[in-house]
Symmetry: C3
Subunit: 143 residues, 3 copies
């Protein structure tokens, strides 16, 4: 049984969904992980992790439109506006989604479905640098 | 320390909550798992996993009614309607809930509370076949 | 490789966010955990777990106000009101957030970001006793 920790660093161009499935796949194959559990944790309170459809880009656009309507920027309800109209909505969108994900790995492959991709969801309007910690525990090809 | 992977396959009759706690319990006892961590991951983008009350069925009906109002089928906001009026709402309901769950196992028992059950939440109106990957890592009765 | 299970018991004073990051940190250092994966699971269907900003208390107040507006107590939509106007809203707020969290631990430190704290979110108006199961798997300082 082995375990490993890694940091993924993503630069965003502002609000939106950024797929990084390939980077996770690459880490798994590079490290020779075989069977186990992969956990991702985003170290921020205004960005989240999402597993969603990676085929039609309209899905991401519609997700974005729905969340923008559900949690409107500049809503007078909010007192915490230190960093602007999108500050508190970013925290709420994070609370409504997830900051960590755990995905089984089998024979070196993430257990994602055919249409599932792993996304960082940037909820702030401005570009940010985001850090995601990855943890793997299980067996390697050579262990 | 041991680990194991299993697939649960559930057939749904359309939108609604389908409890499968018994099937998870059965796998744990059949395999003789004792102490460890159980992770479930649903391999779809229009169905999710939910831990909720398994006593009064009105809870599930009210959950369904609330989500149907929050994310209305046929909302003109949505562009992605390739598979019908419930297509995009199913993706959004999935984003608002969870696609994976991790539950500690102690002395062969899932660490669920008295009223907690594990559900597959089918968000599409039509019946579907859904796959959930289960992963266990920990000790077994014989190890 | 070692693993351990622990129960955190929190008494709430009614609806609101209760940080318990310090108690989790204390358990990790007391047990001498070094590198691994920490999982928390709340054993209730009307309280949830949230990782959110632990700096400005207005963030928690705005979160509370937003969720009170999104899922109103006493909404005539709900049939399940056995325990009062806040009964069904508590279940829905739990479904919209999370009941378990998995966080990597590295060199004895939880992999939280600078502003992230771990909260129990009590969704019922009345005070409650809540139980959270913690599981750790990984290496210890002495192993």
């Amino acid at each position: 049984m082995l375990q490993a920790i890694h940091e993924f660093r993503l630069s965003t161009r502002g609000r939106g969904l950024y797929e990084f499935t390939d980077q996770v796949d690459h880490w798994i194959s590079e490290q020779g992980f075989k069977d186990g559990l992969l956990t991702l944790h985003v170290r921020h309170t205004s960005a989240s992790l999402l597993i969603q459809e990676n085929a039609d880009p309209d899905v991401r656009r519609d997700l974005e439109k729905f969340f923008a309507r559900l949690v409107p920027d500049g809503d007078p309800l909010f007192v915490h506006t230190a960093e602007g109209d999108d500050d508190m909505p970013a925290h709420i969108r994070t609370a409504l989604t997830a900051v960590n994900l755990s995905i089984p790995v089998s024979r070196g492959q993430l257990g994602l479905g055919t249409w599932q991709g792993i996304y960082l969801w940037e909820h702030r309007l401005a570009p940010h640098h985001r850090t995601i910690i990855a943890h793997f525990i299980g067996n390697g090809i050579t262990s």
